[in-house]
Each structure stands twice: as C-alpha cells, then as structure tokens.
C-alpha cells in the first residue's frame, strides 16, 4: 500500500452504474479522497455527481466496482463504513411534523450513537438553530431546513461529510455561516466532499477539485492548478461598424467574431501577468477599428463544462 493510498479516506475503484432504464450514469470511476481535505466535485446536471455520492453512502447500488470508506468496504462492512459518513442531500427532505431536536436525536440514534445532548446543542448553536430546537420543521424557512439537514448529518459525529449542492436555495448569510462551519469541521479532522455548480464556491473552499461529466471523471486536480486552467475571462468589444472577418493584424490575440460581426470577443488568462487587453485596444486604434462598448465577464462553469466536453484535452493536466 502506497503512502497516497493509505492517506485516502475514501477509495473508489472501477465503479460503474447502469440504471434499469439502461442509462449509464457512471463509467469506470476511480477516485481517492484524501483524509482531512475538502474535495469539490463539479459537474453539470445529470453528470453523475449525486449517483456517485449515493453509491458511497449506500443509497444506490453500484453495478460494479468497490468503495472503501474509512478503511471499510461499503458493502461487506457497511455498518462501520456508513457509521463514519454523514450526508446532506440536495433536496430538502425533512419530516415536516417533527421538531428540530427530535429529528436530530433520531439521526444520531439511527447511526448507532448513544444520546449526547451536549453535542447536539453545539451543532445547533453552530448552525444558529438553537432557538429553533423545539420548532416543527414545517414552520421553518427553506434556508433553516437546509441547516436542519446539516445538523442531522452532523448529529452522529461523522468523519466524512458529504454536502450535495449545499448552496442551492441558500442566502448569502447562511452560505458564509456554512462555509465557516465547514472550515471548522475540516480543522477538527473531518473530510468534506461537496458537489456544486458554483465555481466560486469550489474556488473558496476546496483543496482539490474533480470534474465529472456524462458519468466520467474527466479531471482530478489540486485547486490552484485547476483554477489556472479554468480561470479564463472574456472581454466583449462592441464595434461601431460590423466586421466580415478578423483582420490578420489581430492574429496575436485569441479573438472570435460574434453577433453577426458586431462584437469581438477576446478570451484571456487572468493568471498571466499581461492580459493583453491594453495591447489589443492599442492595435484596434492603430487599425482604425472603432468600438462603442467594452464588457468583461468570467466564463461560467457551464461554459467551462461545455469546453471540457468538446475539448477535453485542453484542460487535461
């Protein structure tokens, strides 16, 4: 066993999943999650993120392959494996008529832990839910329900925490609270795996990032390395006169002509010392190309996924 393997708290080997409908949700996924890291799994809708998490947690059966969680096979030794895992699902699935305190107590018991009111109180206070402990879940707002799901997942003190799209429908304040808590959990040794659509979220939080698309893990990389690859920005230059084609003199820049020749789009790398914008604008002036507006934007994660799907080699590190 290599050092890297022994440091892995979750080991996924050759996992495939084909649903009864014939849809292949996962294709030969191999992945090691390191102990104590925050790992972000990115991917568009239907990429297989939730299926992968569900297989690790025991909610979905894999068609083939193995998953080891905290040293235990998730099928053969499911008790020990599952006891170490906490899951915050994507959807707000809650018991409407239960109180916050009783639903948390239920979760802790279900995962085989003796009652520990002090721990439950700490989790509820950390999530600003202590005042709501006797409230029925149905009376809480969406954001509060999300906190309740996190509280339930933490009730049995898991060593591995899965957060499936935790920011969906959550306001800025809760998002910040949540990330503060995630950092604290990591500081206390909990490994965190999150899925997200938001690149900023992954950028803020993750140590490593995996990108999954159409059931395949396209890339797994240290965040800093990956952000350099994904951190492209675009400058849209609205022209006074439309162009038929890009002049040869502008070949040095990566330009695209859009909107029927009315807009020049320049893609540049924010990580480089020189973005090339100043030189481009000078060149436009020198060649008498007038423009009336400039607009810079960061490519969305969806755009990046599209580029990953069509040109996977471009981003493979």
């Amino acid at each position: 066993m290599t050092d890297q393997t022994s440091a892995a708290i979750v080991r996924i080997r050759g996992v495939n999943k084909t649903y009864a409908s014939g849809f292949q949700a996962l294709k030969d996924v191999n992945l090691d999650i390191k102990r104590g890291e925050i790992f972000a799994l990115l991917g568009p809708n239907g990429a297989g993120k939730t299926t992968l998490i569900s297989i690790i947690c025991g909610i979905v059966n894999a068609s083939s392959g193995t998953v080891i969680a905290d040293g235990h096979d998730t099928l053969r030794d499911y008790r020990a494996a599952r006891a170490s895992i906490g899951l915050v699902p994507q959807e707000l699935h809650t018991d409407a008529f239960e109180s916050v305190w009783s639903t948390m107590s239920f979760s802790r018991g279900l995962f085989g832990k003796a009652p520990n009111p002090a721990h439950l109180e700490k989790v509820l206070r950390d999530l600003s839910l202590w005042d709501k402990r006797d409230a029925k879940i149905m009376t809480l707002s969406g954001g509060m329900k999300r906190r309740v799901l996190i509280a339930k997942a933490l009730a049995h003190e898991p060593r591995i925490l899965f957060l499936d799209e935790p920011s969906a429908g959550v306001d800025v304040e809760l998002r910040h609270d949540m990330w503060r808590m995630v950092r604290e959990l990591r500081a206390n040794g909990t490994t965190i795996i999150l899925t997200t659509h938001y690149i900023e979220e992954a950028e803020d939080m993750a140590d490593r990032i995996g990108v999954i698309n159409k059931g395949e893990l396209i890339i797994v990389e240290d965040k800093k390395v990956l952000m350099r690859k994904l951190g492209k920005k675009q400058l849209a230059i609205t022209l006074r006169q439309p162009m038929r084609s890009i002049p040869d003199a502008l070949d040095d820049w990566s330009l695209e002509l859009t909107e029927g020749g009315h807009t020049l789009v320049y893609s540049f790398d924010t990580q480089k010392e020189e973005t090339g914008i100043a030189a481009l604008l000078r060149a436009l002036g020198e060649h008498g190309i007038d423009f009336k507006d400039l607009r810079s934007s960061e490519s969305s994660l969806e755009d990046i996924f599209v580029s990953l799907v069509h040109q996977p080699n471009e981003v493979t590190v």
Binding site: A83, L87, H93, T94, D95, L110, G112, A114
Partner: protein
C-alpha cells in the same frame, strides 16, 4: 446489533402514533363500539346463541381481529411509505442498520400500537357484553402473533406501493372482505357444505377461529392449524422483506 438505531425508529413511529391519536386509536375504538351497539345489542338480542355463547360475545374476537388486521396493515404501511414519499428514506438507506433492525423498529412499533388497540377494544367490549377468557396466555400469544404478522404484511405493502391508492387498495379490497367473510360475525358451520370448504382458503378464518378458541375454548378449526397457518404467513412475509432489502427492490435503484 444497532440497538440505538432500533430504538430511534421505534420511538419515531410511536411518536407518530400519538401525534395522530384521534385517527389511530379513537376512531377504531368508536367504530368497534358502534358494531357492538348495532350487532351486539340491537340485532344480537334477537339472535340465538352460537355454541352456547351469546351472539354479542361471539362477535368480540372477530371484531378485535377486524381492527387488529386493518390497523396493523395501515400503521406499518404508512410508516415505511411516508419516508419514501417525503424523500427522508435516504437517511434510513444510508444508516448502519440491517434489514432486521429496520423491521424490528417499524413492525415492532406498528404491532405495539395494534396490540394496544386490541386490548382497548376488548376493554370497550366488556362495557357492552360480559365475557370470560378461557385461555389468557393463548389470547395474548395470538394477539401478538397476528399483530406482528400483519404489521409485517403492511410493511411489505408500504414498500411495494408507489402511490397512495396502492397503499389503500390491498387493505380495502382484499383484507376487509376476507375478514368479513372469515367468520367475524358467524361460525363457518352455519355455511352450506360447499362454502365451508371454500372458506378454508381464506387465511383470516384461521386467525378468527384461533382467537375465538382463546376466548371461549371453541373453534371452527384446530388451534394448532390456526397458529401454524399464521406462522407460515409470517415466514413468507419475512422471506419477502429479506429479499427486498438484499436486492434493493423498490428501495435502492
């Protein structure tokens, strides 16, 4: 054994029962009281004794069974169907609990409620009709066995159902007719010979007959056969649930 897990499920289910006490306890007790007033007092007073037992007393075991079966099924089927419907089943599926622990929690709670209800109905019946119990040990044993078996059957219905209609269709269209035709209000000896044979295919006959034997020491079929048939049904249900949890049928995709 995850005892904390079993306790958590059991307490959750019992809390649900007490939250809906009007629906789950008061309503069946009221319905049964109405049966006693109508069949036991009003109509029963004009009917002759059956095997030297007054008609009012004769129908008690059948009426208790009627409530016991329908409440066991409905309580256990709702218990497992609701998390499926609300999506909270994810927690049960990802928890370190075995299928037998899940069963003890859900079926145990459903059966507890049914037994409580059965005893309550027997107590209510005592207000209307005087009766003595010939075999108290067997009465409790049959009460428990029936409650557990039919709670297990209800659990299976809850696993199988993927809408509210399916949840109701088996209790309403199969179990209730079988119970009415299972000798709740008559002795099968009162039927024509051919129907006496046909009715033996109705499993509820064995339950009611066994229960009536525990009350009054008289039965349509031998008590051993009654207990044997119920145990056989229990084993079939257990095997099915074991298969469901092992294959993931309707639970894990």
């Amino acid at each position: 054994m995850n005892l904390h897990g079993i306790r958590a499920i059991y307490r959750f289910e019992m809390a649900r029962t007490f939250r809906t006490v009007m629906q789950s306890i008061a309503a069946p007790v009221l319905t049964t009281s109405l049966y006693f007033i109508v069949f036991g007092k009003a109509i029963g007073s004009r009917m002759g004794d059956i095997d030297n037992i007054s008609y009012g007393a004769f129908i008690i075991p059948g009426l208790v069974m009627l409530s016991l079966l329908s409440e066991s099924i409905s309580n256990a089927s709702f218990g497992i169907y609701m998390p499926k419907w609300a999506g909270t089943i994810y927690e049960l599926l990802s928890a370190p609990v075995s299928w037998i622990e899940v069963l003890i929690g859900y079926v145990g709670a459903a059966a507890t409620k049914s037994v409580m209800l059965g005893l309550l109905i027997m107590g209510t019946a005592r207000l209307f009709v005087p009766y003595e119990i010939a075999h108290p040990f067997w009465l409790i044993a049959i009460l428990l066995l029936t409650a557990v078996t039919f709670s297990l059957f209800g659990f299976i219905i809850g696993l199988w159902a993927d809408n509210f209609q399916k949840l109701q269709v088996v209790p309403l269209l199969i179990v209730t007719p079988l119970t009415f035709l299972g000798g709740a209000f008559y002795s099968i000896n009162m039927l024509p010979p051919l129907w006496q044979k046909i009715t033996l295919f109705n499993p509820v006959v064995y339950l009611i007959s066994g229960f009536r034997w525990a009350f009054y020491g008289m039965a349509d079929v031998h008590i051993g056969v009654s207990v044997g048939v119920t145990l056989g049904f229990l084993l079939i249900c257990l095997t099915f649930v074991w298969w469901v949890f092992n294959t993931g049928y309707k639970l894990r995709s």
